[in-house]
């Protein structure tokens, strides 16, 4: 089994961090083979941001994502670049506060940014909300694995809010199932 997940959005939304946390959860706490990559570009300082995670039962040699089956999209620009071509059998999570288009594939609208702001007071939790949603939608890792990885990665003192963020994300998807 091999799953390719693409995260995309704007700089500052925590896109890369989300991908790294997921990768970490799968690699360290789920004994999967994982490669996480991201795109850099001096041409777009503070602009677009994208990252990909490949999670597999077998070793992952070729590290480039060829056809992701899961998309997490947090800006319209990113949607235009990646989401537009998502195949019908893919799964997409998008933040409807930023993305107005809708794909042909199965799609969850996860208003992560606005929920983060309203429920947790800060938009920085949006990416972890997205991870909670992703967990619920895919079950790609266990909850424990993901929580572990989140707690490894976030600043001291924000643990509770991050756990709440995970739950909020899960709930946002669960309600759409």
């Amino acid at each position: 089994m091999k799953t390719e997940i693409r995260f995309s959005g704007l700089g500052g939304q925590g896109i890369i961090t989300a991908a790294v946390i997921l990768g970490r959860a799968a690699a360290l706490y789920s004994k999967k083979h994982v490669v996480q990559t991201q795109s850099y570009g001096p041409e777009a300082r503070g602009g677009a941001s994208a990252s990909a995670v490949i999670i597999s039962d077998d070793p992952v040699y070729y590290p480039n994502v060829t056809n992701p089956s899961v998309y997490v999209i947090m800006s319209q620009e990113a949607y235009n670049k990646y989401g537009n071509n998502a195949p019908e059998d893919a799964l997409m999570l998008l933040d409807p506060g930023f993305v107005t288009s809708r794909p042909v594939c199965r799609c969850f609208e996860v208003p992560a940014t606005s929920e983060a702001k309203s429920q947790l007071g800060k938009t920085v939790f949006a990416n972890v909300i997205m991870l909670g949603a992703l967990l619920e939608a895919t079950g790609i890792v266990t909850y424990d694995a993901l929580e572990h990885a989140v707690l490894d990665s976030v600043p001291k003192g924000t643990e509770t809010n991050n756990k709440r963020a995970l739950a909020i994300g899960q709930e946002l998807v669960r309600s759409q199932l």
Binding site: V20, G23, R24, A27, L28, H33, V34, V35, Q36, T37, Q38, S39, Y40, G41, P42, D58, P59, Y61, Y62, P63, N64, T66
Partner: protein, 377 residues
């Protein structure tokens, strides 16, 4: 064995490897895509009694780590193409003074500033020939985050064993991607051999390598980049002294090329053999996993000195297929040792070869007869 696993990018793993190998002095100058190495060292070294210094440029960075090495530390710097080009004079100095140092080059698209954030392998020949005059060096090439750690450790051991600059020729792909990595803390350390009382500072032992006269240990030695005799003093007029010195310095590495070798040989009985190092190795492995038992594979973890005898393992070879993220740099070296046709598979611009592209190249290989054939993807 204490072991810690983590999920890190290659650059950070490299810094951790250096620290595990005992590197306690890092001098560097930031450049994409190698900067995370310096940043990690800046965060880690002060906590463990080491020193991080950001120098004014790359020329100074190499100079400082050479100085630091003579002061007794395992020392390292990290850079990418443009910075690497600036290091060339002092790399030659390190070769001539037989100073153990480790230089990481996380390769990006060149020439010039080129593509700062894209992967490439365009500095492989520069690494070997970029400074003036005849000299030899050792260069390693990692193809995974784990190898960024492991080969960095190895680089320090080789540098000390052979008293030479050692290069970790990584690339943006491996430097920036994250994988699981075991951070062994009790890695094997092969320290440099301290100069013995009465031994001349530039006289070879049975391996062609002189003892190292660490500064401050009372050896009272003089080190110079001029041609020097075995007592270390300049001797620039004698053809014999020069020839003997350079032959020894080159020989101490080249004569041991098949001892230094670190390769994976897969399917040695195959007829069509991929030769690769660094990121393209991953694609070759992917292809080998997709269509097992079809092709042979020679993966080079050490590229310089080139392990020529490993070519002999492929007794049935009809062609060597060499995918590189450059215009065929190591292929030229392979050619030195074989009359078997070589298929060059260059790819520029930062994207990896895909498994499909390699398959196509293998098909071309079945038709070639000329010594060198290039596949245009």
């Amino acid at each position: 064995m204490t072991e810690k696993t983590d999920f890190l990018n290659g650059n950070v793993a490299c810094a951790e490897g250096a620290i595990a190998a005992g590197c306690r002095f890092f001098a560097g100058y930031p450049i994409t895509p190698s900067t995370e190495i310096a940043e990690r060292m800046a965060a880690r070294l002060p906590k463990i009694g080491g020193t991080f210094v950001q120098m004014e440029d790359e020329l100074a960075s190499v100079a400082a780590i050479i100085g630091g090495s003579w002061a007794g530390a395992r020392t390292m710097t990290a850079t990418s193409g443009p910075g690497f080009s600036l290091m060339m004079e002092n790399i030659g100095y390190a070769a001539m003074t037989e100073t153990p140092i480790v230089i990481i080059n996380v390769q990006r698209g060149g020439p010039s500033t080129g593509q700062p954030t894209k992967a490439a392998q365009g500095d492989m020949l520069q690494c070997r020939y970029g400074s003036h005059g005849d000299y030899s060096i050792i260069a390693l090439s990692p193809s995974s985050v784990q190898e960024m750690f492991d080969l960095t450790v190895r680089a320090f051991n080789l540098a000390d064993r052979f008293r030479t600059p050692v290069f970790l020729m990584a690339d943006e792909t491996i430097g920036h991607m994250r994988e699981k990595v075991s951070l062994h803390s009790d890695v094997e350390i092969i320290p440099r051999r301290e100069l013995k009382e009465g031994e001349l500072p530039c006289a070879p032992d049975e391996n062609g390598v002189p003892g190292f006269g660490t500064f401050g240990n009372g050896h009272n030695i003089h080190i110079t980049g001029l041609t020097h005799s075995e007592n270390g003093y300049p001797s620039t007029d004698s053809a014999e002294v020069h020839e003997q010195l350079i032959r020894r310095q080159v020989g101490k590495i080249e004569d041991f090329r098949n001892e230094i070798a670190d390769v994976d040989i897969v399917n040695p009985d195959a007829e069509y053999i991929f030769i690769s190092y660094g990121a393209p190795t991953r694609t070759v492995r992917q292809l080998m996993a997709d269509v097992p038992e079809t092709y042979g594979h020679l993966n080079l973890r050490i590229v310089w000195p080139f392990p020529d005898e490993s070519l002999l393992a492929f007794k049935n070879a009809k062609a060597f297929i060499i995918p590189e993220m450059n215009l065929g740099q190591i292929a030229k070296e392979v050619r030195q040792y074989t009359n078997i046709p070589i298929v060059i598979v260059p790819k520029l611009g930062g994207a990896l070869h895909t498994p499909a592209e390699l398959k196509k190249a293998a098909e071309v290989a079945k038709t070639v007869t000329k010594p060198m054939t290039e596949v245009r993807l």
